[in-house]
């Protein structure tokens, strides 16, 4: 089909003059309602104020984006309570089981989503708390190694979702707020096909609100398995000041800073293992079973992880 032919036809369309007049009148009415004429600012003043705000805000936001918010490790419950009583309110996490979920359990819900890609039953889930009312969806790709779909929120938000056999195929879709390089992971561990997802959420104007990536891996002999995820939520500035863990709750808990400078909180209890790196707007986490501390540290060192703003 010749573009010129479509262009010729469409370009004959012009907005009728009476419609133009109505739109202009509507805008003028809205302008008058919003700001009394006597108080209306000159555009240059608005621009100047905006420019000053941007200059002031950028370093603050950039600092917040990279600011580590991991829970603080304290010796025991008494230390947590003492710290909490000084702060007024606090929270702390503790493990509730020594045996990790089985690989089958961890795969099941992912398989439902992969196999039910065209069903609205699988379209929910969010990282942006203001957006939970997903009402419709359009499947863009239902077959092949990477599936894609769009899910629509009642308020006009759009979640663009991808599912992949190989999680490395999902790289490059992210905005850059958080990135990783799964090359090393794919050489040393086995991904679970079809259990790997990525989505981004945009508001009705196309602004990025949040992203989420989720993968599932096993060791090559399948004696250990873990999910490895990251979440970015630009709508909520997380403050971890009042968040604690008690060393006495775990077999082992410590902070580990990777070769590229990301500090993770590592927790081991029975056969369970957790790792997390929480910043103001991003959260990278691992949960699984039967990994040794050295394995976990090596894995985190080789993620090629970058956490920006």
């Amino acid at each position: 089909m010749n573009n010129q032919r479509i262009k010729r036809e469409i370009e004959t369309i012009e907005m009728p003059e009476d419609m133009k007049a109505r739109i202009l009148a509507g805008c003028r009415e809205a302008e008058e309602k919003t700001v009394p004429a006597s108080k209306r600012k000159h555009p240059w003043k608005v621009i100047l104020v905006a420019a000053v705000l941007v200059v002031c805000a950028v370093p603050v936001l950039a600092g917040q984006g990279n600011s580590l918010q991991n829970p603080t490790i304290l010796a025991d419950h008494q230390a947590v309570e003492d710290a909490g009583s000084q702060l007024g309110s606090f929270s702390y996490g503790s493990p509730n089981r020594r045996t990790p979920h089985s690989l089958e359990e961890m795969t099941e819900s992912r398989r439902m989503k992969w196999e039910g890609w065209e069903s609205e039953d699988t379209m929910r889930g969010t990282v942006v708390m203001d957006m939970t009312d997903w009402v419709a969806m359009e499947v863009l790709e239902a077959d092949g190694p990477v599936k894609a779909r769009e899910v629509y929120e009642r308020g006009g938000g759009v979640k663009t979702e991808y599912a992949a056999e190989d999680p490395a195929d999902l790289q490059g879709l992210e905005s850059g707020a958080v990135t990783w390089d799964l090359t090393w992971m794919n050489q040393h561990y086995c991904y679970v096909p079809g259990a790997n997802f990525f989505y981004r959420i945009q508001d009705r104007w196309g602004n990025l609100l949040g992203e989420h990536a989720s993968t599932l891996y096993t060791t090559q002999d399948e004696t250990a398995w873990f999910s490895l995820d990251w979440t970015y939520d630009s709508t909520y500035a997380y403050d971890g000041t009042n968040n604690f863990v008690a060393e006495s709750d775990y077999d082992q808990v410590y902070e580990y800073t990777t070769a590229v400078g990301n500090t993770f909180l590592l927790q081991f209890y029975g056969d369970c293992v957790w790792a997390e790196c929480q910043t103001t707007y991003a959260w990278v986490s691992l949960y699984g079973g039967y990994l040794e501390p050295e394995q976990l540290e090596e894995l985190l060192d080789n993620l090629g992880l970058t956490i920006g703003g």
Binding site: M1, N3, I6, I10, E11, M15, R22, A148, G206
Partner: protein, 157 residues
């Protein structure tokens, strides 16, 4: 050379009104709904007046907001279907090439949207992807399928 953005709402309406209306009319197939979508777009634009880097940035923003407005209308129609769309009269536009107009209007909305942005506005695949918040491969796929469906409808040229 970069062109300057509009200084007033009148100037913006003169500069972009027709192209936004074309896009909305092609997407919605209803002059009344198209007017509502363009009106809403310009109301949003009021808050942004004076904040665009250049005319190209301004145009891209207006096209994106218009497509989002149109999608809102389409979603509302899905939830509350009121009028059989094929019966909506096309006031204000008399097609010169009725065959192509009718074939285009018979395409699903997602193909009409990318075809207009590509063939009429001259945007490249990557640019359309950014405008409408899709991946370049999805846009490419829609352009290709849209053209194919048009060809099938009109007969191969």
């Amino acid at each position: 050379m970069k062109h300057l953005p509009a200084n007033t709402i009148e100037e913006a309406l003169d500069r972009y009104g027709d192209r936004l209306y074309r896009l909305a009319l092609v997407m919605l197939k209803s002059p009344m709904d198209a007017e509502d979508a363009v009106q809403e777009t310009f109301l949003r634009y009021l808050d942004r007046l004076g904040s665009f880097q250049d005319a190209e940035h301004e145009k891209a923003w207006l096209l994106t907001v218009t497509t989002n407005q149109c999608r809102d209308v389409l979603r509302a129609r899905q939830r509350h279907p009121q009028v059989a769309l094929d019966q909506v009269p096309e006031e204000g536009h008399q097609p010169q090439d009725r065959a192509i107009w009718e074939s285009l209007m018979a395409l699903p909305e997602k193909y009409r949207e990318v075809l207009v942005l590509h063939a009429v506005e001259g945007y490249r695949v990557e640019e359309i992807a950014k405008l409408i918040g899709k991946t370049p491969s999805a846009v490419k796929m829609r352009l290709s399928r849209g053209r194919k469906l048009l060809e099938e409808s009109l007969g191969k040229e």
